[in-house]
């Protein structure tokens, strides 16, 4: 395979990198005078262009750089979601902080660079590529978390994320070196050839567990979740909105490819571990959120819980299970982007508010926002016929088909508990005494994004669920 073909396969990523560097250069030369709005818009354009490039490559599977990266329907599906979510994150940030610290040209560029890392993650088909892409992503994310460097909370969040991320990278690397040592190769297909049958080699399984723990950190699954609430709360809200959406999809896709691609025969070894992580995440996410008073922390626990639900599909380890994960993550991203758009609209004179009690009586002061948030919360809770319900339906169905009925039952119980805190917010919005109204200026784009998400979750998905399922099935099939 020629270098040209290799580069061609990674054209979207290369285009993004070149664009990002060009914009960075432009920004540096303009200095303080730089028109960050222009950079933002160009970054959105870059990401959307990347989506188009991804879509244009067709469904045929291809490998690049000696099989280090694999381009197939699975990676295409994931990349489309990642780039889309990143674009929306930029759009939301620009609107969310008219005067804030995020008005710097580096901000959208960092998101683009993180997207490159994520894009490589979902294509990674080799342990080295896996690690390199994760770090590409993470370095950008660490900076983003501490982006508001004048804020103590923001810098604390960035530091915590960085140190704990380093620890997880250590776990991951240690696991990867063990796997390489026992399998004799870093390439997923080569590992798969060795790791046959349950408990083929204890050393390989130990390495696998370390890798799983490292990746679980990235999807913020329990018990590797504890950074999540602190970082979500401390980071600037637009950054949190980005964190909650695209990186989760990338990590989850990487998780799926690493397990299904490198250890397909050792499914009996990793399935119980994934199931335990899923149960722990669902429990932590559902239960801890109940006592939260800060909406960002609540959404952090909510995302931990949702990762647990998605992992139920991965624990199934089947084609249907992976398809369920993809469907779940797509719906999750839409819900999350919509919810954070709503959170970003919670602005009063003197700054942004983050307390759940500030939403009190929203229905009387802003009926539209109350309705949108209501739909999104119902969807997050998984109440039919909203999108969240279908997501859960597919992962639980996959679990049941593989005989893990207990896991599905636990999942249903946990989603019942989770419903409590989502519906409590609905109750606060619709039935409690009205708090002062939020500012409405400059929230038009956020309102549009939020209502688009809500529209997708309630009436939209009823029509889109069939094509979404078809696409996810195709993507999942390319993994097996």
């Amino acid at each position: 395979m020629t270098l040209l073909a290799d580069l061609g396969a990674l054209l979207p990523e290369i285009a993004l990198v070149i664009g990002a560097v060009a914009l960075l250069t432009y920004g540096v030369f303009q200095g303080e005078e730089s028109r960050d709005d222009l950079v933002s818009i160009l970054c959105v354009g870059l990401l959307l262009g990347a989506v188009a490039l991804v879509a244009s490559t067709g469904g045929a599977a291809a490998a690049a750089f000696d099989g280090a990266f694999r381009i197939d329907a699975f990676s295409q599906f994931s990349k489309a979601i990642i780039f889309g979510a990143a674009a929306f994150a930029i759009l939301m940030s620009a609107d969310a902080s008219p005067t804030g610290a995020l008005k710097r040209f580096e901000y959208p560029v960092l998101i683009v660079l993180a997207s490159v890392g994520m894009s490589l993650m979902v294509s990674a088909n080799d342990l080295i590529a896996l690690y390199m892409s994760i770090e590409t992503q993470s370095l950008a994310l660490y900076v983003l978390a501490a982006f508001n460097r004048d804020s103590r909370r923001s810098t604390e969040a960035g530091l915590k994320y960085f140190v704990l991320g380093a620890l997880s990278s250590g776990l991951l690397l240690y696991g990867a070196s063990l796997v390489y040592g026992f399998a004799g190769s870093t390439s997923f297909p080569a590992i798969a050839a060795v790791a046959t049958g349950p408990a083929a080699s204890p050393g390989l399984v130990v390495g696998l567990v370390f890798v799983i723990c490292g990746l679980a950190f990235k999807v913020s699954a329990a018990p590797f979740h504890m950074w999540t609430p602190d970082v979500y709360e401390g980071a600037p809200t637009p950054v949190t909105a980005f964190f909650a959406a695209a990186p989760k999809v990338a990590a989850m896709a990487l998780f799926a490819r690493a397990l299904v691609g490198a250890f397909p025969e050792a499914v009996a070894d990793w399935r119980p571990v994934i199931a335990m992580i899923a149960v722990a995440s669902m429990a932590v996410g559902s239960v801890s959120a109940i006592v939260q008073t800060n909406i960002k922390r609540l959404l952090a626990y909510s995302s931990i819980g949702h990762m647990g639900f998605a992992l139920v599909g991965l624990a199934a380890g089947t084609e249907d299970g992976v398809a369920g994960v993809l469907i779940y993550m797509s719906i999750y991203v839409v819900m999350t982007v919509g919810s954070f758009a709503c959170v970003l609209m919670m602005r009063r004179q003197g700054g942004r508010t983050e307390n759940i009690s500030d939403l009190s009586g929203l229905a009387t002061t802003d009926k539209g926002l109350a309705l949108i948030l209501g739909v999104l919360l119902f969807s997050l809770a998984g109440v039919p016929p909203t999108g969240g319900f279908f997501g859960k339906l597919f992962v639980f169905a996959a679990a049941v088909e593989t005989g893990m009925i207990w896991l599905a039952v636990v999942g249903v119980l946990m989603s019942a508990i989770a419903a409590f805190y989502y519906l409590r917010i609905v109750k606060i919005i619709w039935f409690d005494d009205a708090a002062p109204a939020f500012l409405r200026e400059g929230g038009a784009r956020l309102g549009l994004i939020a209502s688009l998400a809500a529209a997708l979750m309630l009436p939209g998905l009823l029509f889109l669920i069939a094509p979404l399922q078809a696409a996810a099935n195709t993507a999942a099939a390319s993994l097996f």
């Binding site: 140190v163 704990l164 620890l167 408990a199 723990c213 590797f224 070894d269 335990m276 006592v291």
Partner: protein, 730 residues
């Protein structure tokens, strides 16, 4: 076009509230009343077309439920029975709408009130125009709902809410029986269509119960209930009658009706006098074929009806609240209608229903005028001398009183019609029918006759007592009321006039159709023992299609009934003959008026004599200067207390049913639900989840080394698990 007669009130009900927002309360009052006025005129037109003209028809609108053999349609069935009800309902409803414009003026919230009134009217019309039991049940529940809403119209008043709930709950008991009856009907007949069910009963067709192996002629059919075999039609008849008892406030299920007087007075007039409470009578008449084939069920109807007539009259004797007196009077008159139906005189029952609607609505609306005039005073003991304050109202009430007491001239017939007020004509007809049935050996016929006579005397007594206490003698009202009686608007008095006219002449005017010489053609098959028998004859004899003279009609009716009944059993023959004889008696023009071979002269004079007796007693006691002086029954006496406390029914029910139910409910609530289910279930789980949440969150310290430690613990656990598992596998 026919559906409009049912739907116009519905439009009114739906438009009333929105219209009031746009154009004010007055507009919605006028609109609902106007729509009702159109419906009333149209229903009179339909009455003359369908009942007098004989153009029966059923308009099926569309299918409601279709599930296997279970087919239910929305329909408008127009025959004499439903046309009669249409006239009663729409006319009285229209007058009550107009009256309410005046009555409700001071209370406010009129759009809601008029919406409810119109909704009630719609439901009642659905009930009477049903062509199947399920639509009838729909209307039945609809009127129950509207009644509940209207009794509790002043929802801020606790007594009104209590009364509304009581009415609803007591009706639930009846409705449960009714629903079971409908289930039984479907079980036996595999249909809920009136025509199919009643035809099957009439012709004694073979009926195969649902899923049963083999059928039997329906009159011999038995069904198994609680392990014993029962006569199917008797079971059905009794169950349907239990429904009727609830709706029509019959003995044992009557307790809600007096309490229902908590509602606004127009409501009492419309729902609790003229229309809804008569739904039970309508039901028995509609399903008359079943009762004809189930003598035991008919006997129960007679027994309960006669008991109610007597019982309610006794309680009415000592009531002081002007509306409660009229309420017990209503209860008593409903008893008359039921025992008339029970002895097979369905025409007489419907006739009394028809005339009663006029004079009872008149009395209620008149009472409402008195209440308004006396500054919302309802206690007759604090009235007296109202004749000077409200002379016009007095005249209307006097007309109502002579109508209900039954003033007339017995033994005189002009143009074949008895001479007297509406109540005289129809009530005497009912009492005579009971006597005839009793003489023919129909169960409880004689009992009903004597109870009816006793009730007639008491009716006269309490009606005149009400008049004396309210209108005559010295005033006992406070000075400011006497000096400044509240103005009674003309919208309240105008509707009384047509009712008064009806109370005077409706009996004479419609006597020939309902029970007289034209009844066969009038009912046209809607009721057995009248047209139905003739139809049977016509069918049997081919050419004889009912153009014979009235005499031969009656004779053939008797013959047909007898002949038909002979197929079934001899007891039925005698009952059918009784009703046929009644028709014969009143159908004969040439015989000496009251010297018929079945009704002795004393029987004809007896109700009149009882009326004189009761009126005389009331006059003797209440016409003096001090009408409140102790009379035969002294306060403190046992009988006085017994009657004053309404035979202690409320107390007995309270002890036997309400308190145990509350005790059980409280136990299940506090111990069962609160402690066990909530304690271990939702509350317990919720509490432990919340506690777990607090503990989990406590682990979220914010220190990085705690977080890192948690991660390493996780790694440790998973590693241990995998290695132990791998070791165990090897």
């Amino acid at each position: 076009m026919e559906p409009l007669v049912v739907l116009l009130p519905l439009f009114g009900a739906m438009l009333s509230m929105p219209l009031s927002r746009v154009a004010g309360a007055k507009a919605s009052e006028v609109l609902t009343s106007g729509l009702l006025g159109v419906a009333a005129i149209y229903s009179w037109a339909l009455f003359f077309d369908v009942a007098i003209g004989g153009h029966d028809r059923t308009r099926v609108l569309f299918e409601w439920i279709g599930s296997g053999a279970f087919q239910v349609d929305w329909a408008v069935r127009l025959d004499t029975l439903s046309a009669t009800m249409l006239v009663v309902i729409n006319s009285v409803s229209f007058l009550v709408h107009v009256y309410s414009m005046g009555y409700m003026k001071e209370y406010g919230e009129t759009p809601r009130f008029f919406a409810y009134l119109s909704l009630f009217t719609f439901a009642m019309l659905m009930l009477v125009t049903a062509d199947n039991f399920v639509q009838l049940f729909f209307g039945w529940e609809g009127v129950g709902l509207a009644s509940y809403l209207l009794i509790g119209f002043w929802y801020k008043k606790k007594s009104a809410n209590d009364a509304a709930i009581k009415a609803f709950v007591v009706n639930r008991v009846g409705d449960f029986g009714f629903a079971l009856g409908i289930f039984c009907i479907f079980y036996v007949f595999n249909t809920v269509q009136f025509d199919e069910v009643l035809n099957a009963v009439r012709t004694n067709a073979v009926a195969t119960p649902f899923l049963a192996a083999e059928g039997a002629p329906v009159r011999q059919l038995t069904i198994s209930v609680f392990g014993a075999d029962w006569h199917a039609l008797t079971i059905i008849g009794v169950l349907l009658f239990i429904g009727a008892m609830g709706k029509s406030a019959q003995f044992l299920l009557h307790t809600w009706l007096p309490d229902a007087m908590e509602g606004p007075t127009p409501v009492s007039a419309l729902i609790h006098a003229a229309t809804m409470v008569t739904a039970g009578v309508f039901l028995v008449c509609r399903t008359a074929e079943i009762y004809e084939a189930a003598p035991a069920a008919a006997a129960m109807v007679t027994l309960i009806g006669a008991t109610t007539a007597f019982f309610a009259a006794t309680v009415g004797l000592l009531q002081d609240d002007i509306k409660k007196i009229v309420a017990y009077s209503t209860c008593s008159q409903l008893g008359y209608m039921f025992f008339a139906a029970g002895v097979g005189a369905y025409g007489a029952a419907m006739f009394h229903l028809f005339t009663h609607a006029f004079f009872k609505a008149l009395l209620f609306l008149g009472s409402g005028a008195v209440i308004i005039g006396m500054h919302h005073e309802q206690d007759t003991k604090k009235m007296g001398g109202v004749i000077n304050l409200l002379p016009l109202t007095h005249i209307f009430m006097l007309i109502g009183t002579i109508a209900i007491t039954g003033v007339g001239v017995p033994g005189v017939k002009l143009f074949g019609v008895p001479l007297g007020t509406a109540g005289f004509v129809s009530k005497d007809m009912v009492i005579e029918s009971a006597f005839l049935a009793g003489a023919d050996g129909r169960a409880f016929g004689m009992f009903a006759f004597f109870m009816g006579l006793g009730a007639a005397a008491m009716t006269a007594f309490y009606s005149w007592r009400l008049m004396f206490l309210t209108f005559y003698g010295p005033s006992r009202a406070p000075d400011h009321v006497v000096k400044h009686p509240h103005e009674v608007p003309s919208t309240m008095l105008a509707p009384l006039a047509p009712l008064a006219l009806g109370a005077l002449v409706a009996g004479m005017a419609f006597y020939p159709q309902f029970v007289g010489d034209k009844s066969v053609a009038f009912w046209n098959g809607a009721l057995p023992g009248t047209g139905a028998a003739v139809e049977m004859v016509a069918d049997a004899h081919g050419g004889d299609d009912g153009h014979a003279t009235e005499d031969s009609h009656a004779a053939e009716a008797a013959h047909a009934s007898g002949g038909l009944a002979a197929e079934a059993s001899t007891s039925e023959a005698s009952t059918s003959k009784a009703s046929a004889n009644a028709a014969d008696e009143h159908g004969s023009e040439h015989g000496s008026e009251h010297g018929g071979h079945h009704v002795p002269t004393w029987v004809l004079w007896a109700p009149f004599a009882m009326m004189l007796l009761g009126s005389g007693a009331a006059f003797a006691h209440y016409s003096g200067r001090n009408p409140l002086k102790p009379g035969l029954l002294r306060e403190g006496g046992m009988i006085y207390a017994f009657l004053k406390n309404k035979w202690y029914f409320d107390e007995i029910y309270d002890r036997l049913l309400v308190r145990p139910a509350l005790a059980i409910g409280r136990f299940l609530w506090k111990a069962g639900d609160g402690r066990i289910i909530d304690g271990l279930g939702p509350d317990g789980v919720a509490a432990s989840v919340a506690a777990g949440a607090r503990r989990l969150v406590k682990a979220q310290t914010g220190y990085m080394y705690h977080y890192a430690f948690a991660m390493l613990i996780g790694v440790g656990i998973f590693m241990t698990y995998v290695l132990v598992r791998a070791g165990g596998g090897q």
